[in-house]
């Protein structure tokens, strides 16, 4: 085990997986010569050649569309979208083809494409460098979605995605690329999709989170120390969802606050709340609360901290629920 930054763990994963399977290739804007604008793909072009770490034309739909064809030729393409909001041009290919092509072939062909992108705010960037688009992905049939919150999971979930027979979208918390350091297993390391992680055990209230909202929720749990014993559940994978872990925690604490950076309306937190409202109604000792981004464009960065879920907001929601 070595300590690595989150983005280094991703880079490590690429080196291992490209070495392990010669069908894996990486493609995207600036992933080759520059090693990615966040350096997630650094060193791959030199080591594996320009055909396995490809600088593509500036065309996200073209990237994902050719990836579909590459799958048909036996490749396992890993497509980088340079930023969250720049993945939107590829949504059409994602919804109409990536999520449907296996089905269309009667299960005859596989489309093991991985789509990864930095996501989320808090980095003082110009507009459209801060989105949390997981809802668009998770709502789409045929698509799996995972979001790591630690360096180890950043490596393990990406490896799982690359090896998975189905298309997987990985959102990486860019805020933590270089601010979060942690132990990362050397060599092959796979974190299975669909298994949540109990980031912190507690008995009074559960904070359900994923990605960059996990460290925030842990900080909120700290802030509540003394007042309440707070459990933090890191979903890790949104689809498949670890319903068992979710329901177990809800049954244990009876109080759930879901923390999500994306805009609230029909975001993934709503799905979590809906699952609880359907399957945990007798366990709940109060309302299911959501702390989320708002139904507005991600703001000018000087006031982005007001938009992003904060420790204050999570604590406020938790107290409200504890007092219910």
């Amino acid at each position: 085990m070595a300590e690595k930054l989150l983005v280094e763990a991703i880079n490590d994963c690429f080196h291992v997986e490209l070495e392990r399977d010669e069908n894996v290739m990486v493609m995207g804007e600036d992933v080759g010569r520059a090693g990615g604008v966040f350096r997630a793909t650094a060193g791959l072009r030199d080591r594996f050649g320009p055909d396995r770490c490809v600088d593509t034309p500036l065309a996200e739909a073209g990237i994902l569309g050719t990836a579909v064809g590459l799958c048909m030729a036996g490749w396992r393409p890993v497509c980088e979208m340079q930023y969250d909001a720049f993945s939107y041009p590829a949504l059409d290919q994602l919804i109409t083809h990536v999520g449907r092509y296996r089905w269309r072939t009667g299960g005859g062909m596989e489309f093991p494409v991985t789509i990864r992108m930095p996501y989320g705010g808090g980095v003082r960037a110009p507009e459209l460098h801060d989105d949390s688009p997981e809802t668009y992905y998770v709502h789409t049939p045929g698509i799996k979605v995972a979001i790591p919150s630690t360096p180890a999971d950043a490596k393990g979930l990406l490896a799982a995605a690359i090896r998975d027979p189905d298309p997987v979208v990985i959102l990486e918390p860019k805020l933590h690329y270089r601010t979060l350091r942690g132990e990362v297993p050397e060599g092959e390391h796979v974190t299975p999709l669909g298994k949540a992680r109990l980031a912190r055990e507690g008995t009074d209230l559960t904070l359900v989170a994923y990605g960059s909202m996990v460290p925030l929720s842990e900080a909120a749990a700290d802030a509540l120390a003394g007042e309440a014993s707070v459990e933090v559940l890191d979903l890790r994978s949104l689809k498949p969802l670890d319903e068992e872990a979710l329901l177990a925690s809800a049954a244990k604490t009876g109080r759930v606050v879901i923390v999500q950076e994306a805009p609230r309306v029909a975001g993934f937190a709503a799905e979590i709340a809906a699952v609880l409202a359907e399957k945990a109604i007798l366990d709940l000792q109060g309302p299911v609360l959501r702390v989320t981004g708002y139904d507005v464009p991600y703001p000018y960065w000087q006031i982005e901290d007001a938009y992003m879920p904060s420790v204050e907001r999570v604590v406020d929601a938790a107290r409200k629920l504890l007092a219910f």
Partner: protein, 358 residues
């Protein structure tokens, strides 16, 4: 960047007029080839004409008619090797027939039955692409991917005149050129996108003029001339196999039938023009050529048509005798490794519907 000649604006032709004025021959095509091409066209034509009837009889659903497009479909496909891939749009739904795909399968597709879906790898024919132009990058990716593996295969992708307005066409064509992918971009310029004439689709003088923008050769052929399409595609395939990248082929034709069975073109089309175009349709033109060459006898023509009719008779019988699809298929094939919820959903649905659905 490559030095590319301006697109040929001349329409390439092999077949002359009704009197044979302008007839020429395509080098390397034997009489057997000429007859095989005829058989392909008749099979496609028969499929199309029967399908319109089947639709009227309520035996298949909405159907995209390709009458008068057989020359470009058969001609282009004939220029391929078996390892080469075809990426059809809905307009080329039956092109798999030329690769051994059963008529019943394609008919089942239009019948909305799960048996209408095939494994593309079995025929090197991709799934029918319904959204316009989105198959272009697929073809580019497949061709590029094959080349990266050192395989010899090319791809042929069909799309319409309207499709050239879509970003997906543009991005796919550009990727193909940049990666020097061995792919032939076959643009079916039938001059209509449903009710929109090609003059409202682009101001380009010809669609082939788009090729220069991608640094690839652009050629124009008479899309009603099966041999011209064959010849142009063969040249494009040769270039592709030689590592010289993609070619844009504009095959000019005319949509002398409704867009699909659901469409009523009387509101927007000049019916006299359509009638005139129907007299110039592509199967008859090729038949005339073959007869002038003395390659096709009446008996052969009869027999080929009878065989095609048989294929369709048996095809629709087989399609109609497919057992009703089990509702379990709603949940199958979307994922290789499905989220657990799907099994729960199916169990619940079976409990409620008792296995059948009305």
């Amino acid at each position: 960047m490559a030095q590319i000649a301006a697109a040929e604006h001349e329409l390439r032709r092999v077949i002359g007029d009704a009197e044979g004025l302008g007839d020429r021959e395509v080098e390397g095509l034997s009489e057997g080839d000429l007859l095989a091409l005829y058989r392909d066209m008749i099979l496609l034509r028969t499929y199309d004409e029967r399908s319109v009837v089947y639709h009227r009889q309520g035996r298949i659903g909405t159907y995209a008619i390709y009458w008068n497009h057989e020359a470009m479909q058969a001609g282009a496909a004939y220029a391929l090797a078996d390892d080469d891939w075809i990426f059809p749009s809905y307009r080329e739904s039956a092109i798999g027939l030329l690769r051994g795909l059963p008529a019943a399968t394609i008919l089942s597709w239009w019948r909305g039955h799960p048996s209408g879906w095939w494994n593309p790898a079995d025929y090197n024919v991709a799934s029918i692409c319904v959204p316009i132009a989105t198959q272009v990058p697929h073809a580019a990716g497949l061709a590029w991917g094959k080349r990266l593996r050192g395989e010899d295969a090319c791809a042929l992708v069909f799309f319409g005149d309207g499709a050239t307005s879509e970003g997906a066409f543009h991005e796919g064509a550009n990727f193909a050129a940049v990666m020097q992918a061995p792919v032939v971009l076959l643009c079916n310029n039938n001059q209509w996108a449903i009710s929109t004439p090609v003059s409202a689709q682009t101001r380009a003088e010809t669609l082939a003029d788009k090729a220069a923008g991608y640094g690839m050769p652009g050629v124009r052929v008479d899309g009603l001339d099966v041999l011209a399409v064959y010849e142009a595609t063969r040249e494009a395939v040769e270039r592709a196999r030689a590592g010289e990248g993609p070619t844009f082929v504009e095959a000019l034709s005319y949509r002398a039938a409704p867009h699909a069975t659901a469409d009523d073109p009387t509101a927007y089309i000049d019916l006299e023009r359509v009638e005139e175009e129907r007299t110039r349709e592509c199967v008859g033109r090729y038949e005339g050529y073959l007869r002038r060459l003395g390659v096709l006898t009446d008996e052969q023509a009869e027999q080929i048509k009878a065989e095609a009719a048989d294929v369709m008779r048996e095809g629709i019988k087989a399609a109609e005798s497919e057992p009703p699809a089990d509702i379990g298929l709603v949940f199958e094939h979307a994922y290789a490794d499905p989220p657990p919820q799907l099994a729960e959903d199916l169990a619940e649905l079976r409990r409620i519907l008792g296995g059948s659905v009305g």
